[in-house]
Symmetry: C3
């Protein structure tokens, strides 16, 4: 369920992929590669990528047939997975992903939208003025969509959802009973690119945003879709106003996130987590279940289950309060 | 003046209230309760609530006839106020408030709005394209309302106000000469609910937002209306861009609040206060008059009049600068 | 190129300026003053202002014919520049600027806009629904403008630009290949005013916003135009979502600024700078080239080239990590 929306242009021949990357090798059996996925979700006939020892355990178990990696990392791959040695793993991954999913790079405004008055939803949805609907959109029973909201292409809305005014949503799967207040941007590509002098290279974002049942998104929030995995807001998790959730972030169930919090890319937040206002979570972190993070905190390392932390950098809240008496 | 907008469905019989809460008591004289209010604003014939020793002084003086409270707190109530002992004071308060003010829970988009061209304001107000006006709205002399702005139901606009484009405003009382720039959300319910597994319970927000004379609200700001009291921005107080003001916050006069500041629920800010960019104020605090709070500060306790503070947690600015030399 | 948009109402006679400020002096030769500019950009026949020793070096070299300043500062001015002694330099500067550029004070919504369908851009630009265009706007080849976006007066858009939906842009010069995502406010006046009890006095903002080639502005960002100079985002510099850039800020080339960063007025950021999420930069600072600022940092002093800093206040990142082990 990584990617129900972007159309896969595969399969591609493995030697075409190699030629495209200008690698100086040739594979004897020019087999077809059906998709590019991360280490965990790959299957036979897929190509994957492995760029950091951090993912060693996943690398050992990958089922992919080929893997973009480096000379020093290739030793961790299983025998069933052939290493393709490249200079820059992420850059090569980005290039190949763009071939499989060319539409995932472009995030211009959606020219396909039409007035909701001209769609099948006219008599089904309660909607405001100037609502626009793109291609490949479905909307469940008993939903409300406020004024000036744009549901761009690739959006599924469940039942009993209340979407406010002035929102822009794309590439997003919305479960039942979700509430999105006003002025939100959901499903845009994340802030991911390769810095290149005078001309940065955007990398593809083939993930979506998944808003689980009964979650709530406050006014003026931005939730970017994932690059190689999805951005997820868990069941019954409530976000206050002006929150920023970056690409690939996964937030668990029954969590409460106060105003102006920012969560950087690829971090994972557990269930029953409470995050105070203006706290920030760095990227690629794992915040456990039942964690409480004080307002204003800056979290720069993993936080185990059941911890209470505060401060910048965040530490045990008792230590924080003691050190600052 | 707490609540000029939401319609009170009372009076209710006290024994009906008790039955609704499933309490195992019965009041001999089944009197009519006209309203639910906080300890301070309650009068005879009202029901109130008392959930924390913090409000002991207010409890002692309340004029309410009944009070939702706990066994241990009821001792502070005057003889004229009968205690109703409940397990969870705030939850019970929320439930009763929802009965008095059923419209204060629902914050779906306002379906009552129509084009300003079809209202009495057509020839009175200078307005942009696609402006929408809800029920129960009044607008004074010499006002401007920008493009795509939605004045939802329950809004009073004074004279000489300049409201920019893409704003959404509801349940708000705007005095004369107020300026609201663009992309703001004003008057939505706050981030208040009872966390319940899989299905949080929103509590009612029967307060409004009150923008006093000559105040200014910067682009992309969110100001939530109060729950049991009002959210207030004082006279000639200026807010920069991207500011978040939570429910029940009261800001005094002639204050200056820089970009991206966040003020959590129920805090009170005095007059002539200066708050630097990105500072955060925790909830339920009292910031005195003439206080200066440095940019980036995290304020987690009350600040007396005439103080200059900085840091996280915020302390005397001289100490902060000395400790960080 | 400070100000291609606001119409200069000059020249003014110097003795009229003096009379307006109610100064008790008279200049023998009642010469014409063509413009008001800062110390550096002034030429013969201009009036300038000098209010802080911080700008001593600039004062010594100014080519202006007159300068609003104080008794104690006037000694730094060259003989070619006559000092006009005033009580409050910035207030007097503001008043005179308002006479030269009366339109630079007023930032009400632009009543001049019309539907893009009624403009010359109808067949040239790829645009969404409800796009509005003001006076004095030009748009290059191969541009996209999303739904509900308002290009107010005084905007130049280069070639190959992608502007998303729900943006409001004014007084802005946009070079080629710039991307503005959604919900941004660009070119509004900054948060600059003289605090006066009950009635603050806005000062004029005669600068513009300049977005250099290939830069990108994320969703929900606000970029204020300059007061006496321009606000600039450099070539190939990328801004993430919810960023606030205050008036007169200048950001160099190839810089990367993560979500929710705030940069206060008049600060200068170099080339190849990386700023982590939620970091804040105080006003009037100079951040050098190749600087890295950790997420959540609060920068309150100048940072030299090639430094890596983190913390609040920000310090050498090694010290920060060591002190917080």
């Amino acid at each position: 369920m990584l990617n129900p929306f972007f159309k896969n242009q595969g399969p591609l021949k493995i030697n075409d992929i190699i030629k495209f990357l200008k690698l100086n090798i040739k594979i004897n059996q020019n087999q077809e590669i059906s998709d590019i996925k991360d280490l965990v979700s790959s299957n036979k006939g897929n190509i994957t990528f492995y760029h950091s020892k951090k993912y060693k355990d996943d690398a050992k178990k990958t089922k992919a047939s080929f893997c973009l990696t480096t000379e020093s990392l290739k030793i961790d791959l299983p025998k069933t997975c052939e290493a393709l040695i490249v200079d820059n793993v992420l850059l090569s991954t980005s290039k190949i992903t763009s071939i499989f999913y060319p539409e995932s790079v472009n995030d211009n405004f959606d020219e396909s939208v039409i007035s909701i008055n001209d769609t099948e939803f006219k008599n089904k949805v309660s909607f405001g003025k100037n609502v626009l609907i793109g291609k490949n959109v479905s909307i469940g029973e008993n939903c409300k969509i406020g004024h000036n909201t744009i549901i761009e292409k690739n959006v599924v809305v469940g039942n009993n959802c209340s979407i406010g005014s002035n929102n822009i949503i794309r590439n997003t799967l919305i479960r039942n009973s979700v509430r999105i207040l006003d002025n939100c941007n959901i499903g845009k590509h994340g802030f991911g690119f390769f810095p290149i002098k005078d001309k940065n290279l955007r990398y593809p974002h083939i993930g979506i945003v998944l808003l689980e049942e009964n979650c709530e998104i406050g006014c003026g929030s931005t939730i970017d879709r994932g690059s190689m995995s999805n951005t997820i807001i868990g069941k019954n998790t409530f976000l206050d106003n002006q929150i920023h959730v970056a690409h690939n972030v996964k937030i668990g169930e029954n969590s409460i996130i106060a105003g102006q919090v920012g969560i950087a890319g690829s971090s994972t937040i557990g269930n029953n987590v409470k995050i105070g206002g203006q706290a920030g979570i760095s990227g690629h972190l794992k915040i456990g279940n039942n964690v409480e993070i004080g307002g204003g905190s800056g979290v720069i390392k993993d936080i185990p289950d059941n911890s209470k932390v505060m401060g910048y950098p965040a530490k045990n809240i008792r230590d924080f309060l003691r050190d600052n008496r």
